[in-house]
Amino acid sequence: MRMDVSDEDLALAAAGGDATAFELLLGRVYDRLFALCFRLTGSRAEAEDLTQDICLALPGKLAGFRGDAKVTTWLYRVAVNAASDRRRRAASYARATEGWSDIEIDRTRSAIETAEAHDWLTRAMAVLSPTLRDTLALVLDGITQVQAAEILGVSEGTIAWRVAEAKRKLRDMKALEEAGP
């Protein structure tokens, strides 16, 4: 019966303390959330971890849901921020690593490169900065530029610019590939 209820109503009920509503809502959005996390991170393992982070943060976040946005918009904002937070934490790992040596990083990197040398997707994601990737992840998920602007908290013009920029980078990469190995 509750399958007819909209995501927004479920979220509001969950924000009010309805555990069943929360369960139902999370069950509904989980797969989409995971797909977005995959687009944001470009790796399955990363996506699994990020999804877990978000799932566990959601109960706390729900208090902030006021019903003035679509659940997906709100959820995507949470996801994008969680991804950016993960990157930030990765930076503190990296600082620990950097203290030691670049050789370790080189070694790790060459291992990655060997494993994924022909993975076009990985390389495509790698040429994009986190900001561009976040934006692109949303756009590829079928989110309109208006919604993306709302989710990322920037203007629509910025989104349009970022999409163009991402396209340009991908084109450059392609040109480079066609020019030779």
Binding site: A14, G17, F22, E23, Y30, A35, R39, T41, R44, D49, L50, T51, Q52, L56, A57, P59, G60, A63, G64, F65, A82, S84, D85, R88, R89, A90, S92, Y93, A94, R95, A96, T97, E98, G99, W100, I103, E104, I105, T108, R109, A111, I112, W120, L121, R123, A124, A126, V127, S129, P130, T131, L136, L140, G153, V154, A164, A166, K167, R168, R171
Partner: protein
């Protein structure tokens, strides 16, 4: 249009690569979220009344303690951690924590002042031009368990490197947006009091991610002190050796170690010195030996070498030992220099245990689990089988593992037995809770129950040296870094008797200089171990332990009164009377304070140091060579034109018997450093 094609290509590739969510993870995530939801509801009523949170350090620690003591097996460890994140990030949680509940939590013990000043010189590698940032896929460290990341467009990185702290709002627009969201909704941005607490505020993920501001615990060299102004120097003993192994690993790779990775006291204490052992005449379980001799790098100053040799009790007299191996089996340990080396190391150690000893193994990765229930050390087959089944995989949940290990150790401890948790990790703790402060508090609480903690570091790449330090120091234990099986042999087998059987706790060293004899002094190394003068007599202030057979070495460089090497000019307007010429026969007065293991009250022993320089003997001379070597690596300013060649000559001349080859190896490292520094 080609550009559309590009995006279509990407979308197609993305859709093709899009995996289905892992069903098991999904179910687990949903269940955990549900549990967190249920817990959040308890605090719901208080949510909107907290408008002016004023976080104090104590509050975070209290929260940490409370969660540890109150979240028991009902929830998985991960959930407990996350619940904690929620509690702390939401005003509701804060109210809950500040409210009467806080009184229920066991009061945090007096915590020693953190002797870990932030690194003052950012590592040069942190500059935005670092090689890490070049190229396309270069910044991607995806193979490490840390999330993949790209540094080139992350302004936060440069900021972090320079100031060691993450300020909210400095890390790109995504975060800005979140900070705004958080404030508007009253969730998330509540904690913004101190620099250390600020970082978790904008976090969208439940784990509070207080970033480590330093990868290495270290500080600038101790400054020169003027005796008339500051006659007393106080510090805690330190028997860690991790820094020497780092330095060795770096040099053997063909690079100079970063200066902040060099802790001279740990280099000094790496070596075994042939110092006189205590006998029946000694008050304490150790014998201090002091020698004064001319400084190798400055003929106008002198070195005061203090060696404290712990008693070597007969190994057969030792009490039964309960060891809980807490083994990091997270994905990052999947490396020949990590888990396999660790397992080999433990096998070495098992051979040295007696039938009366007990061993247990706890693993942590994702969730903590007991891999081996307490087992008599004689049952080698059982233990060996348990070690063989260890496999690396999953993410790290260090804190859950620590909790489980301490629980187990407490159950194993019988009357008159010694229990120790041995944490083996690559340092890759859950970042959220690897805030050294919070971990320290937890471990300090456990220390009071009489369970010690030793930390063994493995591998490189993830190593969080400061976390290891914080853990070992608060757990009254030692931190060692194991890079080869040889080192494992040394740390776990040769020194096992010492590292595992403390003979003196909270060993503090205080030296008062005689102003009639000494004008200036500086302590070489021990930057992170300094204590306030009044802490010496305060038994609540924690300090290092001394294990059976271990020795502690400290070296002061002192400038005698009237020496041309005096650096600090006398004050023009200061009191101009020279201190009573008095008795210049004494250089200073050394006091040592310690507690017998398990006791609360300290004892003190002291002795006067004669001012006349004497022949130091080869042990002190070798220590001086190591101290000089460390200062060269740190690029400290006190050595004048003394070079690696001088250090090599001095060390070479004082190698002695060197039964383990350690000193020979040190000379090799000096040679490497010499060639690398050219």
């Amino acid at each position: 249009m080609t550009s559309d094609t590009d995006l279509k290509d990407l979308k197609r590739a993305m859709d093709a690569a899009l995996p289905a969510p892992d069903a098991v993870r999904k179910a687990a995530n949903l269940a955990q979220a549900q549990a967190v939801f249920a817990r959040t509801q308890g605090s719901r009523d208080a949510v909107r009344q907290s408008s002016d949170p004023s976080p104090k350090t104590g509050f975070f620690k209290g929260a940490f303690d409370m969660l540890f003591t109150r979240t028991t097996g009902a929830l998985s460890a991960t959930t407990a951690l996350v619940a904690m994140g929620v509690l702390i990030l939401s005003p509701a949680g804060q109210n809950l924590l500040r409210g009467p509940d806080l009184a229920l939590s066991p009061s945090a013990p007096e915590v020693a002042p953190r002797a870990e000043p932030a690194v003052s010189t950012p590592s040069p590698i942190l500059s935005p031009n670092a090689p890490l940032n070049t190229g396309t896929a270069d910044g991607d460290i995806a193979a490490s368990p840390a999330p993949s990341m790209r540094l080139e467009e992350s302004p936060g990185v440069a900021i972090d490197g320079a100031f060691g702290t993450l300020a909210p709002g400095d890390t790109g627009d995504g975060l800005d947006a979140e900070a705004r969201t958080g404030r508007r909704s009253g969730v998330g941005a509540a904690l913004s009091g101190s620099a250390q607490m600020a970082a978790p505020a904008p976090a969208d993920v439940a784990l509070p991610s207080a970033p480590n501001s330093e990868a290495f615990a270290n500080a600038d060299a101790n400054p020169v002190q003027v005796v008339t102004e500051n006659p007393v120097s106080t510090f805690s003993s330190d028997v860690d050796t991790a820094s020497y192994a780092f330095v060795r690993a770096a040099l053997n790779r063909g690079e100079l170690p970063p200066p902040e990775a060099v802790r001279i006291e740990e280099m000094l204490n790496y070596f075994r010195y042939d110092l006189p052992a205590p006998d029946a005449d000694d008050l304490g379980p150790f014998r201090p030996t002091v020698s004064v001799f001319e400084t190798p790098w400055n003929p106008d100053t002198q070195l005061v070498h203090i060696g404290i040799q712990g008693a070597r009790p007969a190994i057969e007299d030792r009490p039964p030992l309960n060891l809980v191996f807490l083994i990091d089996t997270s994905g990052s340990m999947n490396d020949p220099t990590k888990l396999p080396l660790l397992i080999q190391s433990f096998r070495l150690m098992l051979d040295r245990l007696d039938a009366q000893d007990q061993v247990a193994i706890v693993t942590y990765a994702g969730s903590a689990g007991i891999a081996l229930d307490p087992t008599a050390a004689g049952e080698t087959d059982t233990i060996s089988a348990a070690l063989s089944t260890l496999q690396a995989g999953g993410s790290t949940n260090g804190v859950g593992g620590l909790e489980a290990a301490y629980d187990l150790a407490a159950r194993m401890t019988g009357e008159g037995e010694v229990s120790r948790v041995i944490l083996a990790t690559d340092g890759d703790f859950n970042v959220g809770l690897s805030d050294p402060d919070a971990l320290e508090t937890y471990i300090s609480t456990q220390r009071d129950t009489g369970i010690y903690l030793s930390v063994l570091g493995f591998g490189r790449g993830n190593l969080q040296d400061d976390t290891m330090q914080a853990l070992a120091q608060s757990g009254n234990g030692t931190a060692a870094y194991i890079d080869t099986l040889h080192e494992a042999q040394r740390v776990l087998v040769d020194q096992m008797s010492g590292a595992l059987f403390p003979i003196a706790d909270d060993l503090k060293i205080q030296l008062e200089f005689n102003p009639a004899a000494i004008a200036e002094y500086r302590l070489i190394g021990y930057q992170t171990r300094g204590l306030a003068r009044e802490d010496f007599a305060n038994d609540a202030v924690d300090a290092g332990e001394l294990g059976a057979g271990h020795s502690v070495t400290a070296i002061y460089e002192v400038t005698p009164v009237g020496s041309p090497a005096t650096l600090v000019a006398p004050l023009r307007y200061g009191a101009d009377e020279t201190p009573d010429a008095g008795d210049a026969d004494e250089l200073g007065f050394l006091s040592l304070r310690w507690k017998a293991p398990g006791q609360d009250e300290s004892q003190i022993v002291d002795l006067a140091i004669p001012a006349a320089p004497a022949d130091p003997g080869q042990e002190a001379q070798f220590a001086a060579a190591i101290a000089g070597f460390g200062q060269l690596l740190r690029d400290d300013a006190f050595l004048g034109d003394w070079t690696y060649a001088d250090a090599i000559a001095l060390a070479n001349a004082n190698r002695g018997d060197d039964p383990f080859g350690d000193r020979n190896e040190a000379v090799q490292l000096m040679r490497l450093a010499e060639s690398l520094s050219r």
